[in-house]
Symmetry: C2
Subunit: 205 residues, 2 copies
């Protein structure tokens, strides 16, 4: 595990509860996603900054790492089967998901919410529109800290994120990327312990 | 299980080994995918015929059925969280996958193949281009009969398809759809027992 003593934070990007933020970072640079208060899922997306039609793709990553979620030292793959991020360190319980779609307006409507509700898909679309890309494909998110155990019969459960305040993961991008993080606004089911809270993107030196 | 005695085949679309074929079928109509010789994976895709930006989405399906792959009686979901197909019957060993990306030219290059090799992604793109859509998003495929067991530690294995000649699945579309099937050309790893073989799409009455 990488510890704070080895890391210098160049810039901290605050991600308010229920919102999304993004940053363009250069090939070889690392960043850290921090769950500031605990039990909070972060939906992470990565797009090639030179051509956003290339992006992180969960089903291509699984085909390379031969597991449902990479381990530290392994690489996330793009939809063009190129390494897009390396999983540098996991300073968390190590529970993450890449099976479940990011929440969106239809999801909350189906959960019985009346009217607008913030969602990870809208957060992604807002951030990418601000970067000049109003019409990106919405990929399967990297659902950091999301607790979706798979049972032996293939069934899945939805449990609260097991993180404590300050838990984090560290990634390095393998091409120039737009990185987007949505602090998941889900407050109807238990994945964020029904209390969405803020997160941070630390761009590291 | 639905049996042949209850089924009338309106049209059989032959899918040669290593190739793809498609058909436009109307809401409420059923079709059957047949593994004609056994041990053959079929990559199935479904697009809304009225707007191909809506298509079957594995991560939205998992979020509704709460399992890695639907059971007969359950529904596949679109990326707009609408039912797009119902899984009517499974006359096969019941082993299918929605975790692994369809094979593509980069996959075969990485497996050491020199020069062109047929792939499920190219088969999909060829069929959809013939329908007038040369630039569709390539979704996670529904990998019928593909044997990708998930171990308790989250690791996945790649095993030969356990089907025998004549095994099939039956689906009903819940909106007008373009259905595309690629008889997977993978012959480097063992998923098709290293012998790609033909399949069929039976459009049912």
């Amino acid at each position: 595990m990488e510890t704070d003593t080895n890391v210098t934070v160049r810039e901290r990007i605050a991600v308010p509860a229920r919102e999304g933020r993004g940053v363009r970072i250069g090939k070889g640079q690392s960043f850290r996603i921090v769950d500031l208060e605990g039990s909070q899922v972060g939906d992470l997306f990565a797009f090639n900054a030179d051509d956003v039609r290339e992006y992180h793709s969960a089903h291509h990553t699984r085909a390379v790492v031969d597991r449902l979620f990479p381990l530290p030292g392994e690489q996330f793959q793009s939809n063009l089967r190129r390494p897009i991020m390396t999983f540098v360190a996991d300073d968390s319980p190590g529970v993450h998901d890449m099976l479940i779609a990011p929440c969106d307006p239809a999801r909350f409507e189906q959960l019985g919410v009346d009217g607008w509700h913030a969602s990870c898909q809208e957060n992604l679309q807002t951030v990418m529109a601000d970067f000049g890309f109003p019409d990106v494909v919405v990929p399967q998110s990297i659902n950091l800290f999301m607790n979706i155990p798979v049972r032996p019969d293939g069934g899945i459960d939805w449990l609260p994120a097991p993180t404590k305040a300050g838990d984090s993961v560290t990634m390095r991008v393998e091409m120039d990327c737009y990185i987007v993080l949505s602090a998941c606004p889900q407050d109807i089911i238990v994945i964020n312990d029904k209390a969405p809270s803020p997160m941070a993107i630390d761009v590291l030196d």
